[in-house]
């Protein structure tokens, strides 16, 4: 099984990139996670340049989603919501709307922030956006609060790692369930 990891932060060494790395360490056997690293290159969404003329960076993003069986997000929270660059990329991925690459795609959301709440607003917004686009979204946030402290030792404590693992396992189960439903 092939999963795609998308990190909402562009910052080098971001806590959410570390969270994605932690998630990659929890994968069951037979599951691969490739992390998308081209978010910075995607230009602003222009509705007139949709499916027929999307810029190469946006096309690459859409292709990476299309080739994955499930998507795992790790998002920071900027001003109470998801980063503009992540939303921008998702807007590109959402067209053509009725047949976009995220439609029916299993997706799950993680998030970490330096505050007490672990980017829960951003995660809720991201799940809302993904649902509107048509993804099959795991109905749960996975907040990792106090990022500076949580990642200080280079590894999450067992309780947080357990929550991340549960989300990864549930995402894998959603992918398997979808595959079974489509072949039934």
């Amino acid at each position: 099984m092939k999963l795609l990891g998308i990190v909402g932060s562009l910052r080098a060494g971001s806590y959410n990139a570390q969270l994605m790395t932690a998630a990659a360490g929890t994968l069951p056997a037979g599951v691969e996670l490739g992390v998308y690293d081209g978010l910075r290159a995607i230009p602003p969404f222009d509705e007139q340049r949709d499916a027929t003329s999307a810029p190469p960076a946006a096309e690459a993003f859409k292709r990476a989603i299309a080739e994955a069986e499930g998507i795992l997000f790790a998002t920071p929270e900027y001003n109470g919501s998801i980063p503009g660059q992540l939303k921008n990329a998702l807007d590109w991925a959402s067209v053509p709307f009725e047949h976009n690459v995220l439609r029916n795609k299993p997706a799950a959301v993680l998030g970490t922030s330096t505050g007490m709440f672990g980017a829960v607003w951003a995660q809720a917004d991201l799940r809302k956006v993904l649902g509107l686009i048509g993804a099959r979204v795991l109905d749960r946030d996975t907040p990792v609060p106090l990022a500076e402290m949580s990642f200080a030792s280079g590894a999450l404590d067992s309780e947080l790692l357990e929550a991340v693992t549960a989300t990864v396992i549930d995402l894998v189960a959603m992918v398997n369930e979808r595959a079974r439903a489509l072949t039934a």
Partner: protein, 190 residues
Amino acid sequence: MSLTEQSVPTGTWQLDPVHSKAAFAVRHSGIATFRGHFNDVSAELADGTLTGAVDVASVEVPIAQLRGHLLAPDFFDVEQHPQITFSASDIALDTQRTSSSGTGGERATVRGELTLRGVTKPLEATGTIAGPATYLDGNERIAIALETVVNRHDFGVSWNAPLPSGGNALGDDVTITVDLELVRPASDTA
């Protein structure tokens, strides 16, 4: 057979899809009613059993974005549940009253099962059964008009959004209406 004889029409009656419709209505923004319908409807009344289905992909609403959202896992989840189906063998006519709608027919209560998003629940719908009438093509047809209300959460259709003024964007109860014209082929004169 005529409904003046106060019984459910026998034989096999097949849908005229051009003159039939399956629609839904739900409270929107707490104060209004939003309506949509399905273009691809199939139905049959055969030996007293009414069956019907709609293709979820044929849902019709004003804009593509909303249509896409309705087809998504947030709502009907067309990928995994491409049809909504209904089946009822318990069709009771109220022989004491005729319809007050002006279109004639007997008031009817139909009890069966609705399957939506993979969930099957018992359902009771009320309305009218009218006819037969002979149409321009010489074939007989009947009209069945039914309405029922379901709680969409019972079928796992639970998307919502909170309103700034309180409450939610969508109501829980959904009114489902079907207006069916069913034709008996000339060869089926049972």
